[in-house]
């Protein structure tokens, strides 16, 4: 996958847990254009091991001098976000992928309801720029733990004015999804990004109210879970690889020097799908992409988040 060389030009602590990073191209030229909702994958060399984490681009899609991302420090993660917080400094060169959009606004939408929980606000920042420019009918519902965790609340107020509705948990303010989605005009689309429970509750509420599937959008990148180490065989490359407890299968494949496709690295886009040629044990499907039937068939696996148990797993790669 071709990468863009960037360097960090600014780092700002926005909340106790969130840092905001600004990148420009290393050679000073413009960055590729993108659309609201896009993300890039940042590649980090942590002690010789390459970590690749997806982050939403937060700036206005109209601006191509710099890219902006925000990173929440995930204490019990496998280190990518902690490294971003503690080791990445201004002036440091980094590699990122070209922007990819897996969470774009519905072009035909008459009204857009954006629902963000905590750091889930990030993909909406660029969408808001698009919505404001199009003069679109939208509402942004932003829920967060306590006032100091409302990253960007002030900035959003300025940009969105009356479109913004905040819900501060510590002050007992709750977003009532049923009331929100119950009486919306035809042609409304809902978008949600945030903690798992919030995403599921939104999807459930909209579906139960009879909203058609193509009006319901969510973005939730999973981070690859850790687990027991296991071995895989790549049939076409004819090699055997050990996947350590800490690594994802995709990372192990990449570390072995084999090219593998990916877009989201979070089990949602489907790009990394591999055919399973042989397996003697259980596959641990952690993705949100394969259907239950596909998962049960043991014929396909998403190596960015899924793992395996057993002695033998042969992949068509």
């Amino acid at each position: 996958m071709s990468m863009i060389n960037v360097k960090v030009v600014a780092i700002e602590q926005v909340t106790p847990l969130v840092k905001h990073f600004t990148f420009v191209k290393e050679d000073g030229s413009s960055l590729p254009a993108f659309s609201g909702g896009s993300h890039v994958v940042v590649s980090l060399d942590i002690g010789g091991r390459i970590h690749r984490n997806p982050y939403s681009l937060m700036g206005s899609p109209m601006e191509n001098e710099a890219y902006h991302i925000s990173v929440r420090k995930q204490e019990n993660s496998r280190g990518g976000s902690v490294f971003m917080h503690e080791n990445v400094t201004v002036g440091m060169p980094l590699k990122i992928t070209y922007p990819v959009n897996l969470f774009s606004l519905a072009k035909k939408g008459r009204k857009h309801i954006l629902i963000a929980g905590g750091i889930g606000i990030t993909p909406f920042m660029s969408q808001i720029a698009d919505l404001n420019r199009m003069n679109a009918n939208y509402e942004l519902h932003y829920a967060y733990r306590s006032p100091e965790h409302g990253a960007f609340a002030a900035q959003l107020k300025e940009k969105c004015g009356d479109h913004l509705h905040c819900y501060i948990d510590s002050q007992g303010q709750r977003l009532d999804l049923q009331a929100l989605l119950n009486d919306q005009p035809l042609g409304t689309h809902v978008y949600v990004c945030g903690p798992n429970a919030m995403v599921l509750a939104t999807l459930d509420t909209a579906r139960n109210l009879g909203w058609p599937e193509n009006h319901i959008h969510s973005e939730q990148f999973l981070s690859p879970p850790t687990g027991e180490p296991f071995k895989i065989q790549l049939a076409r490359s004819n090699i055997e690889i050990q996947v350590s407890a800490e690594m994802s299968m995709l990372e192990a494949i990449e570390a072995a020097g084999v090219e593998a496709d990916y877009l989201c690295r979070g089990g949602v886009c489907g790009r990394c799908e591999l055919d399973v040629l042989e397996t003697d044990g259980a596959l641990e499907h952690n993705d949100h992409f394969l259907t239950d039937t596909e998962k049960a068939s043991c014929k396909k696996i998403m190596p960015c988040v899924s793992r395996a148990k057993g002695e033998r797993l042969v992949l068509d790669l």
Binding site: K108, D183, P185, L186, G187, R207, G210, P212, N214
Partner: protein, 197 residues
């Protein structure tokens, strides 16, 4: 007809079935589409309110529908009358509305076009093709629309060219593409056969 592969733009129609989640169901049918509505009501009676708009033609299911549909049935005398009623009730509808359409392809797409103006997208609609397989075609040369073409080659109502009916379907126009067949050697036509009865 083109063999051996499917052209994505040729719409695929299914059979009507209730969505179990909805706030209101709106069933819209014409002529033999009435039978599809009767089958729908054989499945079950949804808990949510149901509205049925039916345009009767020669084949008439109006009588049976009146017996089977407990309330909310409107029997209209033409497609135009039906579209007028539809346009008058759409402004009261909100998200959670589910729409079901049964009728000829031409009817399905006139309804789709009418509700599109109210923010309902094509993918939101459940459709069942009944009645005729006759195609509406649009002439790529003069842009005229010609209805009820039942043969592989039809005459354009606008420019009079003989058009070959392709499987290429435009959802916007609700019509198939028609291409002049004898452009190379005028007057030389292959056999004209009825293939969309």
């Amino acid at each position: 007809m083109e063999h051996g592969y499917t052209i994505k733009s040729k719409p695929i129609y299914g059979a009507l079935a209730w969505h179990d989640k909805a706030t209101v169901h709106l069933v819209i049918a014409q002529s033999q589409g009435g039978l599809a509505v009767l089958k729908l009501f054989e499945q079950m009676q949804p808990k949510q309110p149901v509205r049925v708009l039916y345009a009767q033609q020669d084949t008439d299911y109006a009588k049976t529908l009146k017996k089977v549909v407990p309330e909310g049935l409107d029997v209209l005398n033409s497609e135009q009358e039906l579209l007028d009623v539809l346009k008058s009730i759409m402004p009261t509808m909100r998200m959670g509305l589910r729409i079901y359409i049964a009728g000829s392809e031409g009817f399905i797409w006139s309804v789709a076009e009418a509700v599109k103006a109210f923010g309902v997208e094509n993918a939101d609609l459940m459709k069942e093709q009944t009645d005729t397989l006759a195609r509406t075609i649009y002439c790529v040369h003069c842009k005229a629309i010609t209805h009820n073409i039942t043969t592989n080659i039809g005459k354009c109502s606008g420019c009079g060219r003989m058009l070959f009916v392709r499987d290429h379907f435009s959802r916007q126009m609700g019509a198939y593409m028609g291409l002049m067949i004898d452009a190379e050697s005028p007057g030389e036509l292959p056999a004209i056969e009825e293939i969309y009865p």
